[in-house]
């Protein structure tokens, strides 16, 4: 139900027994950290940290600084994003904050307001 992009599929392939899913039934305030994947479809304020994959869904609103191994954003993120690997901003995404990522993909229609810093060693120029 949540698997759409290649980045997501790669992370959901493995053992995801400790996935955290924040749906529209709840709001979270504080420091949310997890050893597993995090899927946010609701509202989170504070900070979000995972050593694995993060998905911010279409209807999600994240007002937090975010750290993850990889991320796909379709909703709203207000805060800085530090992603070790690949970050994908889908066409419905809105990010207000600075981004640091090794690999970045921004779809047409996505909104991004902030600075962007990429690791020279792993970044690639696609023509």
């Amino acid at each position: 139900m949540f698997k759409t992009t290649q980045t997501e599929q790669e992370f959901f392939k493995g053992d995801s027994s400790e996935d955290t899913i924040i749906g529209r039934a709840i709001k979270i305030e504080g420091d949310l950290s997890s050893d597993g994947n995090i899927v946010i479809e609701g509202e989170v304020k504070g900070s979000v940290k995972t050593g694995k994959f993060l998905k911010v869904g279409d209807h999600a609103k994240v007002t937090a600084n975010v750290e993850a191994e990889a991320a796909v954003v379709s909703g709203i993120v207000e805060g800085n994003m530090t992603i070790k690997g690949r970050l994908e901003l889908m066409n419905t995404a809105r990010v207000d904050g600075d981004i640091q990522a090794s690999n970045l993909s921004i779809a047409e229609g996505a909104t991004f307001n902030g600075a962007c810093k990429m690791d020279k060693k792993t970044s690639e120029v696609v023509e």
Partner: protein
């Protein structure tokens, strides 16, 4: 010695033949013991406490899911080993324990394959499956460590699971529910919301809006608070009130299981 406890609904005559067959099979397998039928006059906790003082070590509950869940608290408090012989309808737990009906259940008791499973502790009361909150859930505040979980107006129910067993009425459940492991020393919070439903004329014919699980948070303990006293239902029968500290108990439940048990019970 084994102590067999028959739930009150088995006093109905239509179960007489089944009960007789079970007793014959237990005799044949040489695991006979004391057989007691529960009545409405004496509390199940008192019976188990009294019999523990007399020296029983293994209690076998005969009945359905409700019967099984009702004995959990006194069984864990008294450090007994628990067996289960499912009879009648509403038996969703037994198949997950690998326990069949009648003769198969008796054979599982005789084989005595034991597993130790986690037990939930809500304000000092033990539960096996879940703590359910379905009244005024938007007024609840659930804390864990550095973050707070606040159910929204869209939230219809919050459940904290130790052991999950699917009921027939459960629809559109998260696949994550099947991963709830009663041996991982963790509890799983699941919040359920009401779907938006169908629009226009379809809404009239589609009947009730569906309740579906959309949140899954796994942690070792949760603190449930509210500004007023709100009820929390333990294992679908016992009610406690907020505030409540819900955690994995220090002690474990020794459970007799069958060969074809859930993969999650090792």
């Amino acid at each position: 010695m084994y102590y067999y406890l028959y739930d009150t609904f088995l006093n109905d005559k239509r179960f007489d033949r089944t009960i007789d067959k079970i007793k014959e099979k237990l005799l044949e397998l040489d695991i006979n013991g004391k057989h007691i039928r529960l009545s409405l006059l004496k509390r199940i906790e008192e019976i188990i406490d009294d019999e523990t003082k007399r020296g029983i070590k293994t209690l076998v509950i005969v009945g359905n899911d409700s019967s099984f869940l009702k004995v959990i608290d006194p069984v864990v408090r008294n450090g007994l080993t628990l067996g289960f012989i499912p009879v009648g309808q509403n038996n969703h737990i037994a198949p997950l324990l690998g326990i069949g009906e009648n003769d198969e259940a008796c054979e599982a008791i005789a084989a005595r394959k034991l597993v130790e499973v986690d037990i939930g502790d809500a304000n000092g009361q033990f539960f096996f499956s879940n703590v359910k909150m379905s009244k005024s859930v938007s007024r609840l505040l659930i804390e864990h460590g550095n973050f707070k979980i606040m159910p929204t107006n869209n939230c219809k129910e919050v459940c904290i699971y130790n052991f999950y067993y699917p009921m027939k009425k459960d629809k559109d459940i998260l696949p994550e529910l099947d991963k709830i492991d009663a041996q991982d020393k963790k509890l799983d919070l699941v919040a359920k919301s009401q779907s938006q439903g169908r629009a226009g004329i379809l809404k009239i014919f589609s009947g009730k809006r569906e309740i579906r699980a959309d949140t899954f948070v796994e942690r070792d303990e949760f603190m449930v608070k509210s500004y007023e006293y709100l009820p929390l239902v333990l294992d679908n029968y016992r009610v406690i009130k907020t505030p409540a500290k819900i955690k994995i108990a220090d002690t474990k439940l020794k459970l007799i299981v069958g060969k074809n048990r859930s993969k999650l019970l090792k």
